[in-house]
């Protein structure tokens, strides 16, 4: 199953309170494409990036300095390359869990649109995961249980439960 789909893109637009700056379509190959008056952008990460950048500095949810923008791009790449085909037992999830061991949020030290994108992308996996599985990737679970609390992310998504008493903590 592919996780990086149109839902993630439309939800991210909603999260930023903006309309997509053009038409979004899917090629037969499954690749997403954004057509605006002036250009065509292809691919999940690039499409999201141009949507987010079109927002400019108007939102505090969009990173503004070059370093943070680079981190944002990196996370969009990780979503499409690593997370896209993940299920609760794949190594992709382990990798993601490791990445979250030392940070609370993906970019900088606060919630940003990067967290929203990963939240929408990974939601189906965590919604199906067993409690036992969620305890095994405790960093991912910790991150998720905090960001799902943001009212904007909560809307339209059932809150996922996480146990507070890890059985396994390697």
């Amino acid at each position: 199953m592919v996780l990086c789909d149109a839902n993630v893109i439309t939800n991210t637009c909603k999260f930023l309170n903006l309309n997509a700056p053009g038409d979004i379509a899917f090629l037969p190959s499954g690749e997403v494409i954004l057509k605006t008056k002036s250009k065509e952008v292809k691919g999940f990460a690039s499409v999201l990036e141009s949507i987010i950048i079109s927002q400019g500095n108007a939102s505090h949810l969009v990173p503004s300095n070059p370093e943070e923008l680079a981190q944002l791009r990196q996370w969009l790449e990780i979503c499409i390359t690593t997370v896209n085909f993940a299920d609760s037992q794949s190594t992709a999830i382990k990798e993601l869990n490791e990445r979250l061991a030392k940070v609370n949020f993906l970019v900088g030290n606060r919630i940003s649109v990067a967290d929203a994108v990963l939240y929408y992308t990974i939601y189906p996996v965590l919604a199906r995961a067993t409690m036992h599985e969620k305890e095994q990737f405790c960093h991912l679970s910790r991150w998720f249980s905090t960001v799902q609390h943001l009212p904007k992310l909560k809307a339209g998504h059932e809150t996922i439960a996480f146990s507070r008493n890890p059985l396994y903590s390697n």
Binding site: N65, P66, E67, A101, K102, V103, N104, F105, G108, N109, R110, C138, S141, R142, W143, S145, T146, H149, F162, R164, P166, S169
Partner: protein
């Protein structure tokens, strides 16, 4: 919403707890600028309001009085900080007590001797270190599955526990010591980087090398705080200070006593710390911007200029950093090249502390008897940095300073020449030698 005046000495971590809470809630808390520790809080009118004479102390706008930092912090907090259910509120209280009765005693017993404001006793320090390990371990387990201590948002619990750890993280928890406590480190780093924390604690740096007791510094410190003593009034206080000084005279005997009751010591040192105004960072009020000076210096040292100069232009945050040219005024007096070089390195030594916020390439052009000195300087802030501290003003008046327009092509050319040690001065004298201030 709460509003009023806070009495405290600068950089008091108990007051910082209150001020950070106020940053979150928007409470209007003013620090009394006229407060002098050891004077103001010993005066009769202060003691009428706050009988113990301790700080922080808070006077509300409508004339009510509060002491005890936790009570004050609670008062200026909002709902989110206090906890959103009965259980959460109780959990917040739990962590406030944890900070006060578990972390602080261990922290003070370790840190105060380490920064030489309290007599060192190996046994006490060793025991305090073990206590700190045990407490960090407990916190670490708690934070494995949590972003914040209570609930899913920042509460007073996070503010109180993190401010009680500030001294530890600043002075003694070096990278090696803190390594096993990754979850605590993650949590602490997130907190100190929140704008509401930064507004109060400024740019917090984690400890590089753990501070250790220095007998000479301690003796100096005792001398100083002893000198401040006559200012104090009141019989009880006087006596307490007298006994604080004792260890100097009767070291061996006192030492044994100390081992029996180290817990009473930190309080005294607490006050001593308060008497010693921490030196203010001259750049405290100058925004840091996005330009990472150390990163650039590393790049400049390790890479060819064909890499480091473009790197400089790419990263430079022109809003918060400025570029200057400094030209030596007395070029006619320059004789031997080696003497001129000493002039430059001497200046660099005298402004050593400015390194954290400045970079420069200063060049000597020409040859013996016909030469000139000038340099390109990059400073944090738009002002000439030497003016921020009297310690940095020995040499700078011998130079003519001109601020350069960071966007102009001429500046680009100049910077490139100075950074790559090429080109000539305005009179056509060729580059001879260069020195880098980094």
């Amino acid at each position: 919403m709460a509003s009023g005046t806070l009495y405290t000495y600068p950089d008091n971590f108990r007051a910082q707890k209150v001020l950070i809470a106020a940053q979150y809630s928007g409470a209007n808390v003013k620090v009394d600028p006229a407060f002098v520790f050891g004077e103001t809080n010993k005066k009769e009118d202060f003691l009428k309001k706050f009988p113990l004479g301790k700080v922080p102390a808070f006077e509300t706008s409508d004339g009510k009085f509060l002491s005890e930092s936790n009570a004050i912090a609670f008062y200026v907090s909002n709902k989110q900080l206090r906890g959103s259910s009965d259980l959460e509120q109780a959990q917040v209280q739990q962590w406030l007590s944890f900070a006060d009765s578990e972390i602080l005693p261990a922290s003070c017993t370790w840190v105060y001797p380490a920064i030489s404001i309290m007599q060192f006793n190996k046994q006490s320090t060793d025991r305090a270190k073990e206590d700190v390990k045990r407490l960090l371990q407990a916190l670490n387990s708690h934070l494995l599955t949590r972003t914040y201590l209570v609930g899913e948002r920042i509460t007073l619990a996070d503010i109180a526990v993190s401010t009680s750890l500030l001294n530890l993280y600043q002075y003694v928890l070096d990278a090696n010591f803190r390594k096993p406590y990754q979850n605590v480190n993650r949590w602490f780093t997130t907190l100190v980087n929140q704008p509401q924390f930064k507004a109060v604690v400024k740019d917090f740096k984690l400890c590089d090398t753990a501070a250790e007791f220095d007998a000479k510094k301690f003796a100096e410190f005792q001398g100083k705080s002893g000198g401040a003593e006559p200012k104090k009034e009141g019989g009880k206080k006087q006596k307490k200070s007298e006994s604080e000084k004792e260890p100097k005279k009767q070291e061996p005997k006192k030492k044994q006593e100390k081992e029996k009751e180290p817990e009473t010591e930190p309080d005294a040192a607490d006050e001593a710390l308060a008497l010693e105004p921490k030196q203010k960072d001259p750049f405290a009020d100058v925004p840091a911007g996005t330009f990472n000076l150390d990163e650039f210096k590393r790049c400049y040292s390790n890479e060819d200029e064909s890499v480091s100069i473009p790197f400089f232009w790419e990263k430079l945050d022109k809003e918060n950093w400025s570029i200057w040219i400094g030209e030596y005024k007395y070029n006619d007096e320059l004789e031997k090249v080696f003497m001129s070089c000493n002039l430059i390195t001497g200046m660099f030594q005298r402004i050593e502390k400015l390194k954290k916020n400045a970079f420069a390439s200063v060049c000597l052009f020409g040859t013996d008897g016909d030469s000139s000195i000038s340099g390109i300087w990059v400073f944090r802030g738009q002002k000439l940095a030497f003016e921020l501290s009297p310690d940095w003003q020995t040499d700078y008046e011998s130079y003519k300073w001109t601020k350069l327009d960071a966007n102009s092509p001429d500046t680009k050319k100049l910077v490139n020449e100075y950074f790559s040690w090429s080109g000539a001065d305005s009179k056509g004298r060729k580059f001879n030698q260069g020195k880098i201030f980094k």
